[in-house]
């Protein structure tokens, strides 16, 4: 009985120490990311053309809202965001929550999908 209680306490302690939002993202697979990018991002984005959304080549490490010729919302243009892996993960998890007023609404829920797309975008220099 005591050991069972101890195990429960240890489990609770572990859970409290590693909240879900702080879980490290999975490693990204850029090859799979290319497929997810085409199927989920490709409706609005291309690597080399501004369409519904801005072109994505070179996005990794770039400041948000600066691609020439694309009409950004004021919200994103003034966000001050730099597209690091962490920022991209937060963006794909909930763009309208991260930058209220943005026109980007697609939520990519599976963490692995986000990690794979980010790994793919990181390669598109």
């Amino acid at each position: 009985m005591r050991s069972a209680l101890g195990a429960c306490a240890a489990l609770l302690f572990t859970a409290a120490s590693y909240p879900l939002h702080a879980a490290p993202p999975p490693a990204g697979n850029p090859s799979r990311g290319a497929e997810v990018y085409e199927s989920h991002c490709g409706a609005c984005h291309s690597l080399d053309a501004n369409r519904i959304g801005p072109m994505h080549r070179g996005v990794f490490g770039r400041k948000a809202g600066v691609v020439p010729g694309f009409g950004y919302t004021r919200a994103l243009r003034t966000s001050g965001i730099v597209w690091t892996a962490d920022a991209l993960d937060r963006w794909l998890r909930g763009p309208a929550q991260m930058v209220p007023g943005t026109a980007m609404g697609l939520v990519l829920s599976p963490p692995q999908d986000r990690a794979d797309v980010i790994a793919y975008l990181r390669q598109q220099k």
């Binding site: 490709g42 053309a49 369409r51 763009p95 026109a103 609404g105 829920s109």
Partner: protein, 186 residues
């Protein structure tokens, strides 16, 4: 007589939401919308509208390419008609929220953005259409969590189903194998 302060509040808000939109939201039919963030929803709906404009243009480029067989052309024109209905639904929703619907670009602009000069065969046209339809399906499903108003969730889901239907027909026309793993979208 409106005071300067009140006028400032209303004209400031009109950048994203007109007085007519506010009135509509307060009306009896706007209960679902009133609970949402209308200016955020307008921004998202306009992005979807831009997607529909592009889809309509893509089918127009395909239709004018002279690469499509008559039966395929007929299907393409039918699908384009669906996208025009989606466009009209989105325009109505944006206006209902007091926003300004985003206009379409020129066909030449879409041709450049979609790299239409590389389309050399019927299969090329169908592959482009399939890519856009699959992407649109996922885009509509993907924006549902971001949309505030519940009736817009239904609009997005309903439109996603139409896009998925188009994608299924196009994939079949291209002889693609049926995906073995579900879910196929989202």
């Amino acid at each position: 007589m409106m005071t300067g302060t009140r006028r400032g509040i209303i004209t400031g808000g009109a950048k994203t939401l007109s007085a007519a939109g506010l009135f509509a939201l307060m009306g009896a039919g706007g209960s679902a919308l009133a609970a949402a963030n209308p200016s955020q929803d307008v921004a998202l709906l306009n992005a979807a509208l831009a997607l529909e404009h592009e889809g309509i243009a893509a089918y127009q480029l395909g239709a004018e390419s002279k690469l499509l067989q008559p039966a395929v052309l007929s299907v393409a024109v039918t699908f384009q008609g669906h996208h025009k209905q989606h466009r009209d639904d989105l325009v109505a929703a944006v206006k209902r929220l007091g926003g300004a619907p985003v206009p379409a670009k020129s066909l030449d602009d879409y041709a450049k953005e979609l790299n239409a000069a590389t389309l050399k065969s019927q299969a090329d046209v169908l592959k482009l259409a399939l890519k856009l339809e699959r992407g649109a399906t996922n885009a509509y499903l993907g924006i549902i969590p971001s949309l505030g108003a519940s009736d817009l969730h239904t609009l997005a889901a309903r439109t996603a189903c139409d896009e998925a239907f188009h994608a299924a027909i196009l994939a079949n026309a291209l002889g693609e194998a049926i995906a073995q793993k579900a879910p196929l979208f989202g």
